[in-house]
Amino acid sequence: MKDDDVIISVKGLETFFYTNNRCNKAVNGVSFDIKKGKTLCVVGESGCGKSVTASSIMQLLPKLSRIENGEITYHSNEGDIRIDQLKKNGPKMRSIRGSDISMIFQDPMTALNPVYTIGFQIGENLQYHTDLNRAERKGQSIKLLKEMGIPLPEQRINEYPHQYSGGMRQRAMIAMAMACNPKVLIADEPTTALDVTIQAQIFELMDKLKEEHDTAIMLITHDMGVVTELADDVVVMYMGNIVENGTVDDVLRKPAHPYTKALLESIPVLGRGKNQVIEPIKGSTPDPYNRPKGCQFAPRCPFADSSCQVMPDESSISDTHSVRCLHPMEAV
């Protein structure tokens, strides 16, 4: 792996939440790289820390949480920037957020401001990060909306979010995120609230962005189908740890961690017929305040033994594929 392909590298990230004198280790030592022009998919169930990882990179964490340890390095054109050391609302972070790294949120209705027009909200981003004047900003906003496939952008730009349909709102959000041609786009479950036909439109759009602008995309999802369609690299998270990391071929064809394997076996796959066997994972995810010792998946894992009482280190299977398990599955 060449270093000049990597645009954001995260090393040993630990983000903890503090509530009622208790500490939730939401992200507990996570390392991965986001590469230029590639899509990195982060998969996991709810509560596994995938969204917190994204907010850590964007420095959008809520007040009661803190990055305790680790490095987030943004390899910009002007040299490396340590994002974790920047002030949350300092000038540097604000100049990066929204222009170099931008984010799409899950629910466009709550992410857009209902009292401003779509055009204003896209233009706002341009106003902060570019030198364009008002007329140019308007033109640029219209161009962006057109690229996103919104009909009649000249009129639509003066409308408010409630006048848009769900899919159009999400496209308007992507337009906002793409306004300054970011190097990295972080998408936090961008299509979970949308219908499949609209989801397909959004995916097509994201694929296009990746090809045309060489944008690095970090896509957070819980849907293995989405991973298959879009990902180049995959990170599987469970209870704040990365349990498996590799290219999409590595992870989906030769899942090494029992959790990845169980996850793949637990979903019905279209085209495999009515008699396909789906194998649920037994039990449920543990309480984050009352974690099991050692490997977090051990209590639900069919292969666990006494050695799993210690948190296993990451071991690599090939150049691109690594797993955090003492008993990695044999490639079938």
């Binding site: 169930e45 709810s46 009909p151 349909s165 769900g166 899919g167 159009m168 219908d195 499949v196 036909t197 609209i198 989801q199 397909a200 439109q201 995916f203 097509e204 819980h222 849907d223 293995m224 189908g225 989405v226 991973v227 298959t228 369609e229 879009l230 999409v248 071929d249 989906l252 064809r253 169980a262 996850l263 793949l264 637990s266 979903i267 019905p268 796959v269 279209l270 085209g271 495999r272 017929g273 009515k274 396909q276 789906i278 194998e279 649920p280 994972i281 449920s284 995810t285």
Partner: protein, 337 residues
């Protein structure tokens, strides 16, 4: 599957329109045609899936069947082996009786359980109204029910917040099962759950069905789940059924362009099956003011003149020896593509 099947429900031109009130005098300005003339037969012991995008009327149809929303037209005939009754014309008292046989599992397990009641408290009400007087007996029945949905008997004295989402959904299923229904409407019963939990609930639903010879009407937008759980599928678009077929048949020989697009849009977790997406343009039109002719024509890539003028009816075809219904003027052409 061609032997004579007993119908449990027959829907005839069911319509559920919601009036839109406007102005000071609450003048009716139009109707939202949520369910617009649906005819359908549900056979005893099968799982019929209703699929479609949001706003296509699938939930309203499910609720109309149970009379949770009163249909504005048509007939829903329920056959309980002895008599056939039109659910739309029953008195409240008669409906109570029938309700014992027809139950529903809701999408959001969090909001469908009362947070102030223990599980026992929530589950005993249906038993009480349907005539089980002694508390000890109710406790026994509920304990058995919880065990049948893979939970522990003691958990009946806990409150909903003490359970995880998957457990809550299983309590919802237990509640629907408590008075031994014939037919359960599952309204997006697994959509709110995490993937690993979803599998548990799906498997449970399948097992229970076999054990108790239930009939499901399974409402969902997830076609991968449909393939796993159902026998027949009805695809809905703007309040109408556009295609109805046996599940294998629907996937193998699709006869409506909408179903085709829907199937191609689903991300499949199988690297060997990555395929070209058929992109639909635009959104689902408003059901207040549906397009003329075929409701799908503005988004259809094979739209022709006739589609803009004539509403296609649901016609019967035969593919691979199965009955297959499609509401497309060019249904047979779809097969050859």
């Amino acid at each position: 599957m061609s032997e004579a099947r007993e119908t449990i429900l027959t829907l005839k031109d069911v319509e559920t329109h919601f009036p839109i009130k406007k102005g000071v005098f609450k003048r009716t300005a139009g109707h939202v045609k949520a369910v617009d003339g649906i005819s359908l037969e549900v056979y005893r012991g099968e799982t019929l899936a209703l699929v479609g995008e949001s706003g296509c009327g699938k939930t309203t149809l499910g609720k109309s069947i149970l009379q949770l929303v009163k249909p504005t037209g048509g007939k829903i005939i329920y056959n309980d082996k002895a008599t056939e009754r039109d659910l739309c014309r029953l008195s409240q008292k008669e409906m109570m009786e029938v309700n014992r046989k027809l139950q529903i599992v809701f999408q959001d397990p969090q909001s469908s359980l009362n947070p102030a009641f223990t599980v026992f408290g929530s589950l005993q009400d249906p038993l009480k109204t349907h005539g089980i007087k002694s508390k000890a007996e109710r406790r026994k029945i509920i304990g058995d029910l919880l065990e049948s949905v893979n939970m522990r008997r003691e958990q009946m004295d806990l409150y909903p917040h003490e359970f995880s989402g998957g457990q809550r959904q299983r309590i919802g299923i237990a509640r629907a099962l408590s008075i031994e229904p014939d037919l359960i409407v599952c309204d997006e019963a697994v959509s709110a759950l995490d993937v690993s939990i979803q599998a548990q609930v799906l498997k449970l639903l399948k097992d229970i069905k076999k054990e108790r010879n239930l009939t499901y009407i399974f409402i969902t937008h997830d076609l991968s789940v449909v393939e796993y759980i159902s026998d027949r599928v009805a695809v809905m678009y703007l309040g109408k059924i556009v295609e109805l077929a046996e599940v294998e048949d629907l996937y193998a020989s699709t006869m409506h362009p909408y179903t085709k697009a829907l199937l191609s849009a689903i991300p499949v977790a199988d690297l060997d099956r990555r395929k070209k997406r058929i992109l639909l343009e635009g959104d689902v039109p408003s059901p207040v003011n549906p397009p003329s002719g075929c409701p799908f024509h503005p988004r259809c890539n094979q739209c022709q003149d006739i589609c803009k003028k004539v509403i296609p009816s649901l016609k019967k075809f035969e593919t691979n020896g199965y009955e297959h219904y499609s509401a497309c003027h060019f249904a047979e052409e779809q097969l050859s593509q």
